[in-house]
């Protein structure tokens, strides 16, 4: 049995190496966020010599950072709500009914997901200025829905199809009306699915930069944009940038904690 243990050890070692590779850059940025600029440039030590939280203070006190953080949260949450509100009925239709053109419609939805964001820069610029939504969080969230709805429909349809149709029928036989059935019986059953779909629409909105930057001007500046603008002026305060980077990771980390055991399940679905 000796070689089995040796093989297990090698595999475990390689796995640990991979996780070190995964966390090293984040930890490097984390340590930078607690260093003064001078120390960042001079020493390459991992542990900050003169530990400082000045960088974080600077971000939290600056009204512009807080404001852009609020803008980002607004469009991320709006996107999540709009996506779910619209994807739930659509997924129910795809899962429970077969209607003329349902497969083509589903594939068309997916093709939108394939479109590069850059392709829509120009037309969105035109569209949202035309309807007066330019430079508002609503423009960004609406633009993002185009990409998050297909994925949400795909995931929700997968979870819904896991529930036998006989449950719908039994509910109707028992006298439930459609809204009663959908709210009291169906939604609780696909709770995890909603969680995973919400996670992915948050994820998409939160990480996307291109459209967020294009569709906003001066008034509502998403945090991501605020950050990269300052970076553009070379030699900017690295400590502050590292700190803001760390702050931007935290919401994601929290959300993933809540959805952790559905994460794998959510991924397994797919109509392919």
């Amino acid at each position: 049995m000796e070689n089995l243990d040796r093989r297990k050890l090698i595999v475990r070692g390689l796995l640990i190496l991979y996780f070190i590779f995964l966390f090293a850059p984040i930890i490097w940025m984390l340590s930078m966020s607690f260093k003064t600029n001078s120390e960042i440039l001079s020493s390459k030590l991992l542990i900050p010599q003169n530990f400082t939280t000045a960088n974080y203070a600077e971000i939290i006190e600056d009204p512009q950072w807080r404001e852009s953080f609020a803008v980002t949260l607004t469009y991320v949450i709006t996107n999540m709500i709009v996506t779910l509100a619209v994807a739930l009925p659509a997924a129910y239709a795809f899962s429970r009914y077969s209607f003329r053109g349902d497969n083509h419609l589903f594939f068309w939805m997916l093709t939108n997901r394939m479109a590069p964001a850059a392709v829509f820069l120009l037309p969105y610029f035109e569209l949202y200025s035309a309807i007066g939504l330019f430079d508002t969080p609503w423009a960004v969230s609406l633009a993002h829905t185009l990409f998050s709805i297909p994925l949400a429909v795909w995931i929700l349809e997968g979870f819904m199809s896991g529930i036998p149709k006989a449950i719908d029928e039994t509910a109707y036989i028992d006298g439930y009306s459609f809204p009663g059935f959908f709210a009291k019986i169906f939604l609780p059953l696909i709770g995890p699915g909603i969680g995973v779909a919400a996670f992915f629409s948050f994820l998409f909105s939160w990480v996307e930069l291109l459209m967020a930057r294009t569709l906003t001007g001066t008034v509502s500046k998403p945090i991501a944009v605020q950050l990269s603008r300052s970076l553009g002026a070379e030699g900017w305060d690295w400590g502050v940038i590292a700190a803001s980077g760390v702050l931007m990771i935290i919401p994601g980390a929290i959300l993933i904690y809540f959805v952790r055991n559905y994460l794998a399940k959510g991924f397994a679905l797919g109509r392919v």
């Binding site: 964001a117 820069l121 185009l146 990480v207 291109l210 794998a264």
Partner: protein, 293 residues
Amino acid sequence: MKIRDNKAWFFVLPALIVMAVNAFIPFITVINFSIIDVFMNLPAVSVGMENFYTVINDDLFRGAFVRQVGFSLLILLIQVPLGIAIALALPKKSIWATLSLIGLGLPLLIPFNIVGIIWRVFTRADLGAVPALFSVFGYQYDVAQNAVDAYWTVVVMDVWHWTPLIVLLAYAGLSAIPDAYYQAAEIDGASRWRTFLFVTLPRLRSVLTIGILLRFMDSFRIYTEVFLLTGGGPGSTTTFLSDVLVRKAVISFDIGYSAALSLIYFFVILVVSYVFFLVLTSVGTNDDEAVPE
């Protein structure tokens, strides 16, 4: 067994409307722009396919296109096998399984520009850890000037950023394989490799198809992380298609060119994805010449 009922269209309508606003109208404007020439506010003049020809013959586009295809294929070749290997090595039950899932999920949650910053900060000559590390081995690592260093840093960054997606997909696929298949293979005396080849891999097909499709789409339109790490430099070693499109559309406002490029760009992704989809869902299921030993 679904009921045939076109009443279902009412359920789908809301999603359709929201997406139509975001997809049709812009799409038509793009097509519109690609076939007319807009200059200041003079009446538009139809130029037919001219814009498309300029794009196809433009060296900047050609260079970027070839570089982009090369980049995407390289990404797939590295990330898919690596992702599967890690998924196979992951612990199945116990707290370690949950912890590694959370750890793997983290890179996917970091905004694209922060990924760019993390790696920029991690690899810059004056403040990064990587140059210090390489200098220990006596190699002069410089992401800003050295083309090879820059290209491979972008590749490593993308591997760091997206391999976890393949791992999670493969992990989900693995947990869906019933134990009976592994028991049967063991009883048949199959080696670890043959068990992987004939039990695990065929059962991972649908999950891997999703992974490959998603990875191809996303890598083919990469922009933000590269822009922040190397800005497309040095020279044009890391200038990819999206970079060209952004420059033309939002910086130099060359409407006709960027509209045509957008359509070509979207069309290429659509076609390649469809080809991937067909190939992956049919391999190994045909009669007679099923994969020989």
